[in-house]
């Protein structure tokens, strides 16, 4: 097991280095003068240009620059935002909880609905229920999520007026963040109606962000279950006289979950991409919206640092999924 972990880490390190090289080279690939871009000053005298160049380290050999950069990264320095002049890493930690809260809700939504849907579709293979579930999943999978969000806002917030349009909580509530999770903080604040407001703000974004993972998980669960249900050991379980619930829910599901866990892990990466669109539509102050805004504001330090951090997170999540996979699949554990 330990060797398994070590093996995975060995692969991770060169990948991370590659990612950092890309993030590092990125600014230098942009059209325009990197010095001007990073300092934010567009018109400079040659002396000023040389001064800033030296301060930023651009006059040194590129390999040294890269190692300086890497050294900074290891120490936690991911650069400074051109627009806000704050360290990128600080801004990241300010905004990350919002994305994390949304992503967690979305993946829970996707799992809680998706796995049972896939199991039911598999058990009732070929029936109307199966076709409906799979048809719905296919539609959810084929939808542009930014449009889905707009549509829901139009219908649910606009016409039905059940949920608010944007933000994490109604403007009338203000309390200092404790955990960064609005659901927890609103409860801790003790203000009447705060929690309810936080929940109602979360509903639509969760549905929008969770739709594609839901569809993918449902489809994957169904196909994994169909494969497992035709295996010999399921026949043995039936031959033991076990109830259908036990055969499917214990014997089959355990095995079907193995490939599904990998899918769920991959969905995290998909969700971070989807968060970009969801957060933009719902004005959700998370890192997705932050990245999009930075691209438009040409805040290249943020783009560079943000890429590195996000890639790092995805790699860690993939590692966690690999470990989980190793734990669940006894063939790897022993």
């Amino acid at each position: 097991m330990f060797r398994f972990l070590l093996g995975r880490l060995a692969v991770l390190i060169p990948t991370f280095i590659g990612v950092s090289i890309i993030a590092f080279s990125f600014i230098r690939m942009l059209p325009g003068d990197p010095v001007a871009l990073l300092s934010g000053e567009r018109v400079m005298s040659p002396e000023r240009h040389a001064e800033i160049s030296h301060a930023l380290g651009f006059d040194r050999p590129i390999v040294i620059q890269y190692f300086d950069y890497l050294l900074g990264v290891v120490q936690g320095d991911f650069g400074t935002s051109i627009v806000t002049k704050k360290p990128v890493i600080d801004q990241f930690f300010e905004l990350f909880p919002a994305t994390l809260e949304l992503s967690l809700c979305a993946i829970i939504f996707a799992i809680v609905l998706g796995i049972p849907a896939g199991v039911i579709a598999a058990i009732k293979r070929g029936s109307f229920v199966d076709q409906t579930i799979m048809g719905t999943a296919l539609v959810g999978f084929s939808m542009p999520i930014f449009w889905w969000g707009l549509l829901l806002i139009m219908l649910v917030s606009g016409i039905l007026q059940w949920t608010p349009v944007s933000g994490r909580i109604s403007l009338m509530y203000f309390f200092p963040p404790v955990t960064g999770f609005m659901l927890i903080d609103s409860l801790l604040s003790g203000q009447a109606g705060a929690f309810k407001s936080a929940v109602s703000h979360l509903i639509l974004p969760t549905i929008v962000l969770g739709t594609i993972p839901l569809a993918v998980i449902a489809r994957q669960t169904r196909s994994a279950m169909l494969e497992v249900l035709s295996e010999d050991y399921v026949r043995t379980a039936r031959a033991k006289g076990l109830s259908t619930f036990r055969v499917v829910g214990v014997h089959a599901l355990r095995n079907a979950m193995i490939p599904v866990i990998t899918t769920i892990g991959l969905q995290v990466g998909v969700m971070l991409a989807g968060a970009i669109l969801t957060e933009t539509i719902f004005s959700w102050p998370g890192i997705g919206k932050w990245m999009v805004d930075s691209v438009f504001r040409r805040d290249y330090a943020v783009i560079q640092g943000g890429l590195l951090v996000i890639a790092g997170i995805i790699m860690l999540v993939n590692l966690a999924v690999d470990l989980l996979y190793g734990l669940i699949n006894p063939r790897i554990r022993h």
């Binding site: 990125f26 690939m29 939808m143 542009p144 930014f146 449009w147 990466g269 991409a273 989807g274 691209v295």
Partner: protein, 302 residues
């Protein structure tokens, strides 16, 4: 050896026809897949004959007909069946011309991804060793970034526009094709027919592309249809964010970007382009499902 060569030369033609017939039998069983195919052909026709079918020029602005609702609503006009947008352009014509852009994106991105991914994947799977390791690490690096974010940043580097969006998306799709091809090549490489060809004197290039590759096509075809639909979605997303096709191009995602402010009032500007994207992608995914079921030997019932 000459016997093997002779039989393979003879059996290619009738066996291919037989395989095609068998494939069609399974594909046509899937009603959804056939519906998807029919609709897709309809879209292709729409795209080809857009100049003839569309009632108006998609970029023509009718200043006196701004934000007209569809014809069945109060205030609608017969000349603008689906209404007009914020600068008075006919929605129906824009949607029809949008088909051209979406299908174009799908074709280009899929072709680029297939060609690049197959080429790299075959080399990785065939030569193994350090070549394989390097290639797979590069793929891991690409996969470490969320796809849309990487595409977004790439377009920021290259400059906004549909062409750059397509290049960015194709790059982001590479790892999927590379991995798939590599896995297929690795499992085919040790099979008897490959060893036979090698003993007969086939060089690396011929072995890789003429002997092994044709037998790996099934999962690649399925992945290609998935890429086609994902490309359309991603290009629309980039257009929505303002980094893809630029206005006044009638690309469906770009149309949605311009529609954001009208959510509360003018539903047709918001709803219709999204519906266009949805049904197009749905049709392609239905076909993809049908293809996968027809090409996957495990699911065959007889």
């Amino acid at each position: 050896m000459s016997q093997a060569a002779a039989t393979s030369a003879v059996s290619t033609d009738p066996s291919r026809r037989a395989r095609l017939a068998e494939f069609w039998y399974y594909f046509s069983e899937n009603r959804g897949a056939v519906i998807g195919l029919v609709f897709f052909l309809f879209l292709v026709l729409l795209a080809i004959f857009a100049p003839i079918i569309a009632p108006h020029d998609p970029t023509a602005q009718y200043r006196d007909a701004v934000l007209i609702p569809p014809v069945w609503q109060e205030g609608g006009r017969a000349e603008f069946l689906l209404g007009t947008d914020a600068v008075g352009r006919d929605m129906l014509s824009r949607l029809i011309y949008g088909t051209q852009f979406s299908l174009f994106v799908g074709v280009i991105v899929t072709t680029l991804s297939l060609v690049g991914g197959i080429f790299v994947g075959v080399i990785a799977g065939y030569f193994r060793g350090w070549v394989d390791t390097v290639i797979m690490r590069v793929m891991d690096i690409i996969l470490a970034f969320p796809s849309l974010l990487l595409a977004l940043v790439l377009v920021a580097v290259l400059g906004p526009g549909l062409t750059n969006a397509m290049i960015a998306i194709a790059l982001v799709f590479q790892p999927h094709f590379v991995r798939l091809t590599r896995a297929a090549v690795m499992s085919e490489k040790s099979r008897d027919y490959v060893i036979a060809a090698k003993v007969a004197g086939a060089g690396h290039g011929r072995l890789m592309f003429k002997t092994i590759l044709p037998n790996c096509m099934a999962p690649l075809i399925v992945q290609a249809t998935l890429s086609f639909s994902s490309a359309i979605l991603d290009a629309a997303a980039l257009g929505f964010l303002g980094m893809g096709a630029q206005p006044p191009t009638p690309e469906w995602g770009t149309m949605l970007a311009e529609a954001r402010e009208f959510i509360q009032s003018k539903w047709w500007v918001v709803t219709l382009p999204g519906v266009a994207i949805l049904v197009t992608v749905l049709a392609i995914n239905l076909m993809g499902d049908g293809l996968r079921d027809a090409l996957d030997p495990k699911l065959k019932r007889s």
